[in-house]
């Protein structure tokens, strides 16, 4: 006991001394810091100035395309820091809580298209109105309208859009005795996703061993719905998902796929789906522009020159984001300037060249150049042409607050049960209904 008392005392003394010492050292350090700061401020001016932070999810391609470095070179007083959260389902709740707390937000926050309506309807007062800062006519109309509030406030600038095409395996199509020319193929299914599904029945008659026509029924559903004006909500913001013609049409097309053995029954963005690309287990996939890089990466060299791209049955959009400046931003002026610059046509074209994210500004379309590797990979398909044709004709879609969870309920419960568990379409619809009710239940 005695010894412990003594050691604890010794320990205490040591702790106090240590604390004091670190305090002193810290004091020195801060002195040092401020000294050098002053030095650099007067000198090179390289460091210091304002740090503008930008919060994103996934891969935005700004860093990859070298845009931050370029901007910092143009504006020596500005340092850009990107805070990336990989998963959208983690990023958005976090951003919502920070916006409402009015602290902890980045100077620029990215908003996914699935969340933009929620942001417009519930967070509009937390974002700077960018409508006065930019020439709105640069963007596609339907892109702008997604980020505009009822009283005309623009809370986010469009980054990329997700115009849709069909990526298909030329080699598999040939073996199945189908048309392989991309223009003729597009003509065969033009205007109706059911025609695309019908072609799948033909494919399955002579399908190469172990392959299916399409990766999943949900992908057909999403692609078809991406071209419909009417989705889950009407103009007044009431839920009409179970009456909507758009949903019905897309659902029926997906059910055709799910019940006719033409699907590889994979779930998009899961590991087995990636493997499906590598092993060539499905012949087509509805591909928004941003998916090209993904397909290329996951297929690897084995898919080179075998993939081709044809126009989708209808002009449809899937994905795309916005960047907005929260009112809580500490460097609003700099953030607005940076957001404007990042979303300007010239910069969007640079991101496309690197990352294949398709610009939301039509004036960029004239000089879009995809990477040479991408073009060879997709059999020299005129990618820019196909995607810009689609982008320009996409209808203005009505979104609602809970678009995202309703969509997930339909694809990941309804469609998946039919596709993977052999339930009837009616049972699948009932399951989806139950799920949507759970989502909408306050």
């Amino acid at each position: 006991m005695r010894t412990t008392a003594r050691t604890s005392r010794r320990a205490m003394t040591f702790a106090v001394v240590a604390a004091l010492a670190t305090g002193l050292l810290a004091g020195c350090a801060t002195d040092d810091d401020s000294g050098s700061d002053g030095g650099s401020g007067g000198g090179s001016g390289n460091k210091g100035g304002t740090t503008v932070t930008i919060g994103t999810f996934g891969v935005f391609g700004y860093k990859q395309a070298g845009l931050y470095d370029e901007y910092m070179k143009l504006h020596p007083g500005v340092t850009i820091k990107e805070n990336v959260t990989t998963r959208t389902d983690v990023y958005w709740p976090k951003t919502l809580t920070r916006l409402q707390a009015g602290s902890g937000t980045d100077d620029i926050q990215a908003i996914e298209v699935g969340n933009i309506t929620e942001a417009v309807q519930t967070q509009a007062d937390k974002f700077v109105d960018l409508g006065k800062e930019v020439d709105k006519s640069q963007w596609l109309d339907w892109k702008n309208s997604q980020a505009t509030t009822k009283d005309g406030k623009l809370i986010g600038l469009g980054t990329d859009v997700g115009p849709m095409a069909i990526c298909y395996r030329k080699d598999l199509f040939e073996k199945a005795g189908l048309e392989t020319d991309r223009t003729k193929l597009a003509a065969q299914w033009k205007g109706d996703w059911n025609k695309y599904v019908d072609l799948g029945k033909q494919y399955m008659k002579k399908a190469p061993n172990g392959t299916k026509y399409v990766d999943s029924a949900s992908s057909v559903y999403n692609a078809a719905l991406g071209g419909e004006k009417e989705r889950y909500y009407d103009k007044d913001g009431s839920v009409i998902w179970d009456k909507s013609t758009g949903v019905k049409k897309s659902w029926n097309a997906a059910m055709e796929v799910a019940t006719s053995n033409m699907s590889a029954k994979l779930k998009q963005f899961d590991k087995p789906w990636d493997q499906g690309f590598a092993n060539g287990t499905f012949a087509t996939v509805a591909c928004p522009a941003w998916m090209l890089g993904y397909i290329q990466e996951k297929s690897g060299d084995s898919g080179k020159g075998k993939w081709d791209v044809a126009a989708a049955p209808t002009a449809a959009n899937w994905g795309g984001s916005f960047i907005g400046v929260p009112t809580a931003s500490k460097h609003q002026k700099e953030a607005i300037a940076l957001a404007k610059w990042l979303t300007a046509p010239a910069q969007q074209a640079k991101v496309f060249a690197k990352q294949a994210s398709f610009p939301s500004t039509p004036s960029a379309y004239a000089d879009l150049k995809p990477q040479a590797a991408t073009t060879t990979f997709f059999s020299d398909a005129p990618l820019t042409q196909i995607f810009s044709d689609s982008a320009k004709t996409i209808p203005v879609q009505i979104f609602g607050v809970k678009d995202q969870p309703i969509g997930t309920a339909i694809t990941d419960t309804g469609i998946l049960q039919v596709e993977q568990k052999g339930k009837s379409p009616a049972q699948g619809w009932d399951a989806a209904t139950k799920e949507v009710k759970d989502v909408l239940d306050q």
């Binding site: 006991m1 005695r2 809580t97 519930t122 990941d412 239940d441």
Partner: protein, 343 residues
Amino acid sequence: MTSSDEALAQSATSADTAPGSQEPGAARGAQGRGTAPTGAGTWRSRLYRWDMKASPYAFISPFFVIFGAFSLVPLLYTAWYSLHHVQLSNLDGQTWAGLDNYTNLFQSDFFWNALKNTFTIGVLSTVPQLVAAIWLAHMLNYRLRGSTVWRVIMLTPYATSVAAATLVFVLLFSPDTGMINWALDLIGIDPVNWRESDWGSQAAVSSIVIWRWTGYNALIYLAAMQAIPADLYESAALDGANRWQQFRHVTIPMLRPTILFTVVVSTIGATQLFGEPLLFGGVSGTKGGSEHQYQTLGLYMYDQGWIVGNLGKASAIAWSMFLILLIVAAVNLLITRRLRKSQ
């Protein structure tokens, strides 16, 4: 919650024993220090006594301050939220709901389904895991070459991250290209859809849990086994008991408190199961499969709170989980008492 509960329990027990052991020690300490002031009422002695009494509280206070700030306050706040309609996108616009969230919850099939899944996955993972751990520990308790190496290897699954482990298991269990279906095919069993079938998916999730935690529990058992006096085994051997009988009649009874401890810890872990099913489900993992076949309570809470944005209901789930844990703890206490009496 659990870690702090345990800590609370631990600090409670140590508080029970503390006064008994501290008083005489303190007295001795005072005597031992020849220079210590003996005259009562002097300033130094008062300071000294105050120091003896107050310092322990100062030393343990950081835990309670942090516990209060990061556990107690959120706990109470969650209770408050659970009585309101709150949307994630509108935190300030909450309206009083009374017990609506709870009644909705208890009428919801999804809640009972999640509760059932939590239970079945818990049993499916805990029972084989503890049995395997005891067996492993028993094996390791024999004289082995390179026993340290074996022990370290056993602990590696526990050291890998949930994410890494689950990713590998997802590939193994992939219905079309996975190794497990391939192996089943070799012995003539039809492939199982490990993602979408009810028992298949639950077994797959459980296997991840088993893989990760078996070694950890085995080490705990091993430590306890090594504390069993060797003469017990010797006398058992003299009585003619074989290895299995020794295991049954010596090892298991001596391990009883340890087994109880691991059961409690595993049960709490199983009740809060979250990471494995979430990552196993992939992109929309919070749903736990198309029919919610492996959605646990933890997943359902996360789905309601952060995906759907219905914070009120999510808080109600959180509190229901808390109450369930309390019930589990109470049942466990009863069993412990029973066992103690029977000893």
